[in-house]
Symmetry: C2
Subunit: 293 residues, 2 copies
Amino acid sequence: MEGGAVQAELIAVLAAVTDGEPRVLTIGSGYALPSGPLEEGHRSLQTGLRAWVERQTHHPLGYVEQLYTFAGQLPGEARGISISYLGLTREAVTEYPGAEWHGWYEYFPWEDARQDRSAPYVAAILPRLRLWAGDDATRQARVEGLFGAEGWNEELVLQRYELLWQASLVPEARRAHAGEGGTVPGREMTHDHRRILATAIARLRAKIKYRPVVFELLPREFTMLDLQQTMEALAGQTLHKPNFRRLIEQQELVEETGKTTSGLAGRPAKLFRFRQAVLEERGVSGTKLPRVK
Amino acid sequence: MEGGAVQAELIAVLAAVTDGEPRVLTIGSGYALPSGPLEEGHRSLQTGLRAWVERQTHHPLGYVEQLYTFAGQLPGEARGISISYLGLTREAVTEYPGAEWHGWYEYFPWEDARQDRSAPYVAAILPRLRLWAGDDATRQARVEGLFGAEGWNEELVLQRYELLWQASLVPEARRAHAGEGGTVPGREMTHDHRRILATAIARLRAKIKYRPVVFELLPREFTMLDLQQTMEALAGQTLHKPNFRRLIEQQELVEETGKTTSGLAGRPAKLFRFRQAVLEERGVSGTKLPRVK
DNA sequence: TCCTTTTATACTCATGGTGAGTATAAGTCT
DNA sequence: AGACTTATACTCACCATGAGTATAAAAGGA
């Protein structure tokens, strides 16, 4: 009845958006995510996570949600379980040696589709994937569906990374099954940390569409443009300004503070704040089914 | 650097819909979910889960997705981590002793809002929750938001269960902090298995709205009514027939088989099958943001 | 045989959200 | 003062959705 005991590793993807760039908190010069094993003293998984992030980066942890759990084969030692989390914050002013913020898109340059910034990367990747697919119709369909010109779906971050992995086009894959030829641009990470980051980005891109989590990344007061640019940074997509505004207003997510910006070019913008009340009111409908009565 | 080793427990919520009733596979006469510790031989978490479910219930596992991971304090022994999964299948014809299918709504009678079946339960629960809330405005808001007459949100299954737990109205809570007074109708489960079931129901209710997972629960060929009733069983809501049909058709989720039903009362219904192609075509848009260009 | 019952399927109509684009307001900068 | 820049307001066509009604095609009983 007694199963084998395992090590439990807690891994954090801590995200922020600064100056319109989404960033992630790393250690080891951008090569790893903050992480450490669950210990005796930790009363819960989140407690353990908080402890490790604060020890390694001295950065406080705000909003946190669980991402995914999987069994990893720690080479040599006993097997381990990795439990990953996504956290949202704003970058602290003070820096801590060893901890660095890096742009998401250093790791996934092909994911930033704002004004076609990703275009050259995708153009370089596609022929190599097509070569890999060869005559295999299933592979071809996946390649075109994920990287093809028809309707880029920004939520499929993980699927795209895994495809590159399988095609041996990322360095991490080489460590597993030695491949031939070169790899694709994009910063590498240890173990499967880059896969975890991809999971985090995908989750966040999906979530901002139906839950008001963006506000965790913004200061207390912000302009419509701040809000829009933060969304665009996360989604990796440019948004239609008037319609974005209308969307936010009709959902009553924000309220005016009465203040405006000044000193910048152009007409001063109103400052808004998030309406905390939404969190209670909204059980979020998310309906889609034609209820009766 | 060496953290405390832990036990990893794998827990499965295996769901099916039979004759318009959503059901869950249990052991111990409906008192527990299939589960067991991760062992040396298991190559992945899902492998381990499959092994345990098949050993305890002899039921095959089809579509599976991860639910949640948390640290539980197994009393006495070393601490443990519980990793829960949701699986979707059809009930096998052969039965295995010790394994039983039970209706979801035996465990959560207040969640079945089809033609007001839940009404008497909600009516009985509400005054007791209001009593518990007392003058506390935060508590009152939660009670009314979750159980109140205004817009029942079928996705908040977990939140409702947790509220009842905190109010000490479910037997499981009594084991933790002894409470006074009676409990509310609804079958009890061991440990936090009922909480896990609530998580599974909530996840599935959310997911059927944007991913074609219902078809995992249906036979290969089915009528529109079969499909609708399966959805209704999961959502715990009655749906508008013409609009439901239109929704399915415009999304091109199914195709006609050419066959029809016969022998039953009323006009024969066309038989449909799921269009497997959707799984490839659709990266599922889920858009909501006003993209530009 | 015909009529009732039952279920399936097809239509109608008003409404509101969404995509796309244009027009005006109100500041800085030169 | 005029050019420039950004913010904000408005328009219009279209389509998905909520709600309800009408017709089709079988079974079953009088």
